[in-house]
């Protein structure tokens, strides 16, 4: 099965340049044909490919920006979480210390 990320047109072009016969790769091309003619399918595929190539840098940039913005927010949330954990740990330890002292006091009185 063809990986969806493989540009079938580019593969075919490369094969032509290398003098290799057209493989059965076309046969496993995603089933976009349906009732459409082979010429139309090829045209649609080429149009999609060109559009994809043109949009790729923009999509990549948008993805990077989103990742960067999310990373910043994620780091802030992680820091908040660490602070809260530390505070919880302090409170828990302080309560445990109070309780331990109380038990030691009570033992002496009983």
């Amino acid at each position: 099965m063809t990986h969806p990320a493989i540009d079938i047109d580019a593969v075919a072009r490369l094969r032509r340049q290398l003098g290799r016969p057209e493989p059965a790769l076309r046969a496993v091309e995603p089933a976009t044909s349906g009732a459409a003619s082979p010429a139309a399918t090829t045209l649609a595929g080429r149009a999609r490919s060109v559009a994809g190539r043109l949009a790729a840098p923009v999509v990549e940039r948008a993805r990077q920006e989103l990742a960067r913005a999310a990373a910043h927010e994620q780091a802030a949330l992680r820091a908040d979480l660490a602070d809260l954990r530390a505070e919880l740990d302090r409170t828990r330890t302080a309560h445990a210390a109070e309780l331990a002292a109380l038990h030691e006091q009570v033992r002496g009185r009983s």
Partner: protein, 288 residues
């Protein structure tokens, strides 16, 4: 599982350990020795004893003991206690770790100089010359906020170390200043009576340079003389208590499992142990 630190105390000395124990015990499970271990076989990782009188009852585990005099220090040495703790400066020369009688974990609190306080007050729409009086015995969230925002504060209770750690310009009574070893006009302003203290605090709030100097020197005093963090770290080291943070990712993972009250025989613990095996140094790696 996390380390277990037990408090062993006499009824009259139990409470004095609470402040230090709250810091030393971070990342460990803190329990009462007589309640949890006196009659049972599994022993704690370490013990904090508040008096040499309880040393005879304790098992052979790393022990820190509070001593008040040279006789107490001698008994601690005779029992091979790992570390002696004292509030008495005389015993520090003989190896005891000094602990402030009333202390605060200074590193926990940010220092807020008067300039930063004024900025926060403006942002929050609070009065420019916010002066407060605090005699509360416990540091609640609202008290901490008030001390962090005030232009000056009259502090007469046990929260004085916290106020100094936060860099609050403080006015206090002569008795409190003497008890903490604070010098009038250097680390705090001193005034007798509520009316005089209030006047002094208002004058201090209006005098930017004076308030800034007091804030700075007060924080420094807290770092040098009222910090529980430093002695607590020394005690932890001597008792062999390693914090989960210092133990790295494996320690953090085990701490989270403890936090979730994961049973010792839970499958996830064995899976965590297996996953952490590469992080655990083998004897071959430790050996020279």
């Amino acid at each position: 599982m996390s380390a277990v630190l037990a408090l062993a105390a006499t009824p009259t000395t139990a409470r004095r350990a609470i402040g230090l124990l709250s810091v030393v015990g971070l990342g460990t499970e803190v329990v009462s020795w007589h309640r949890a271990f006196a009659a049972t076989d599994p022993q704690p990782t370490a013990v904090l004893a508040t008096s040499p009188d309880v040393l005879d009852e304790l098992p052979d585990v790393p022990t820190a003991v509070w001593v008040d005099d040279r006789e107490g220090l001698r008994r601690a040495l005779a029992h091979d206690a790992e570390v002696a703790i004292s509030t008495s400066p005389d015993l520090v020369d003989h190896g005891a770790i000094p602990v402030p009688r009333w202390g605060v974990e200074v590193a926990r609190w940010p220092v807020l100089p008067p300039v930063a306080r004024a900025l926060h007050r403006r942002q929050l729409g609070l009065p420019e010359d916010l002066v407060v009086a605090v005699d509360h015995p416990v540091a609640t969230d609202d008290i901490v906020t008030v001390l962090a925002l005030a232009a000056a504060a009259v502090v007469s209770g046990p929260l004085l170390p916290l106020a100094l750690a936060l860099g609050t310009p403080v006015v206090t009574g002569p008795e409190t200043a003497r008890r903490f070893g604070l010098q009038a006009g250097i680390e705090v302003e001193v005034a007798s009576g509520p009316a005089a203290a209030d006047r002094a605090a208002r004058a201090l709030a209006a005098y930017d340079h004076g308030a800034a100097a007091l804030s700075r020197r007060g924080r420094r005093f807290a770092e040098r003389h009222l910090d529980l963090g430093r002695p607590a770290e020394l005690v932890r080291q001597r008792l062999g208590l390693v914090s989960s943070v210092a133990a790295g990712p494996p320690g953090r993972l085990l701490a989270r499992l403890d936090e979730l009250a994961t049973p010792p025989d839970a499958r996830i613990r064995s899976r965590a142990d297996a996953a952490l095996a590469p992080f655990t140094p083998s004897e071959r790696m430790i050996a020279p």
